[in-house]
């Protein structure tokens, strides 16, 4: 028998803490219910619509006897728009990274020049991020003419916002010791950043750039849909002509390419950190 028969009361967290948890849960649940009501979300519709779904799905694939000839003629035609999509994503990521670099250091509290320019940089980044890439493309297509250029510019804008935000959060989280040491040694501002900050954030930043490239590959398909070039543009074209087998093939190709890019990027990032 235990030396003490009556178990000692285990201290419980204060009542306020427990109530706070319950309250948060109630708020989340309330919002879900409200959102369901407002959007008329109906789970049953998912099932009643299933028949249409399968009918449409069936049209995406050519009859088995024609698969060879159909895909054989189509696939080579997709190479050019597909490469264009990757190029749009690549160019957007490249220039986005280049332009984000100075903004990262201007917007980080520990490397900023002064409070005013830091504030300006932060507001600029917030504005850049608040405009979705699709909206950028929709704005830029009429200005820059239908084609890959507005797509690349749209993704550049989007990449600047995302990379500068992630980058400045990384910069603000570095070990401040080396910064203090280099300031104490009389190093200039740029040299201090190059020697004390860059080595601490480089691997993480490269990983973010790869991640943004991943996002941009997917996004460049979508913005192609509003006329910004690439395979998204082709997809929209095929849909307009009710060429469902063409649409089906494009979907499969996009899926395969995104999967490969994601896989490569995940592998590359895992090697970095």
């Amino acid at each position: 028998m235990a030396p003490d028969a009556t178990p000692a009361a285990i201290p419980r967290p204060p009542l306020v803490g427990r109530l706070r948890g319950l309250f948060s849960l109630a708020v989340v649940a309330g919002i879900v219910v409200l959102a369901f009501r407002q959007t008329g979300f109906d789970i049953a519709a998912l099932f009643t619509g299933a028949a249409d779904f399968w009918r449409f799905f069936g049209r995406l694939v050519p009859p088995p006897s024609e698969i060879g000839s159909n895909w054989g003629t189509y696939l080579p035609q997709l190479a050019k728009p597909l490469i264009e999509t990757l190029q749009i994503a690549y160019v957007g990521t490249f220039f986005g990274t280049l332009l984000a670099l100075p903004l990262i250091f201007l917007a980080s509290a520990n490397t900023a020049l002064d409070p005013v320019s830091m504030w300006v940089a932060r507001v600029l980044l917030t504005v850049l991020r608040s405009i979705p890439d699709l909206l950028w493309a929709a704005i830029l297509v009429p200005i820059l003419v239908v084609g890959p250029l507005p797509g690349a510019v749209a993704l550049t804008m989007f990449s600047i916002g995302v990379l500068a935000k992630l980058g400045s959060e990384t910069v603000e989280a570095i070990d401040p010791g080396p910064l203090e040491a280099l300031r104490a040694a009389g190093a200039g501002r740029l040299a201090t950043i190059v020697y004390a900050v860059v080595p601490q954030v480089a691997a993480t930043m490269v990983s973010y750039v790869l991640y943004v490239f991943e996002i941009n590959v997917r996004a460049s398909v979508i913005i192609g849909y509003v006329g910004a070039g690439g395979i998204g543009f082709t997809l929209q074209n095929r849909l307009n002509f009710f060429d469902y087998t063409g649409v089906g093939l494009i979907i499969v190709v996009i899926f395969a390419v995104v999967l490969v890019i994601d896989g490569l990027s995940v592998w590359a990032r895992s090697r970095l950190i």
Partner: protein, 257 residues
Amino acid sequence: MSHIEFREVEVTYKTGLKALKGVTLSVPRGQFLVVVGLSGAGKSTLIRTVNNLVVPSKGSVHVGGVNVTAARGRQLRQVRSDIGMIFQTFNLVKRSSVLRNVLAGRLGDVPAWRGVLGLFPREDVAYAHECLARVGIAEKAFVRADALSGGQQQRVGIARALAQKPSVMLADEPVASLDPPTSHAVMRDLKRIAREDGITTIVNLHFIDMAREYADRIVGMRDGQVVFDGTPEEATDQAFEEIYGRPIDAEKDLRGA
């Protein structure tokens, strides 16, 4: 002739904390000064007013006749490049090589573009290697800093400060993160180099015995003020009890080998 002069230095932090309450001190050229006191006594703040990492709210600090407190921009960088500093947590860039860390000490003297591109003059690179040799880790030049032991990392810290060719060396609790034998080895290095190069040195220390062993002069601080100023011989146990404001018996056990 005095090399470093604190003139009624007061520091009040934004939080309202008064870290220094009017410190006046004069440190002659070449002196090895050890500042002792409890955590929070103002030692770190005092040492940081010398290179203006902490800006005094009142009073001024002068190094070699230059008012550091009033210095700005290029002039401040010039003053700082003449003042080496080593830190309790070493403050090395862990992902960079030892050599690159030491070369960072030259950044105050080389043109900005050379520093940024890493194109240091040959003699600067040679000097960085020489500094590493002086602290006994010449063979570690191309190793990443985080691959070294604590004692070795602090030696890189000393080498980086030395690379500045400083006339003043500041050391903020340089051995507080090290084991006792390593602490003594690092203190011996510091003292030897200060002697050889005639560097005026201010060291913050926790340990009484170490202060007595290495100091030319001991300054005791309590609550933002200088409460003791004398030779190691004058710094008796009783004097330390007054500095600390409590008995020191428990701390005797902390003496290093």
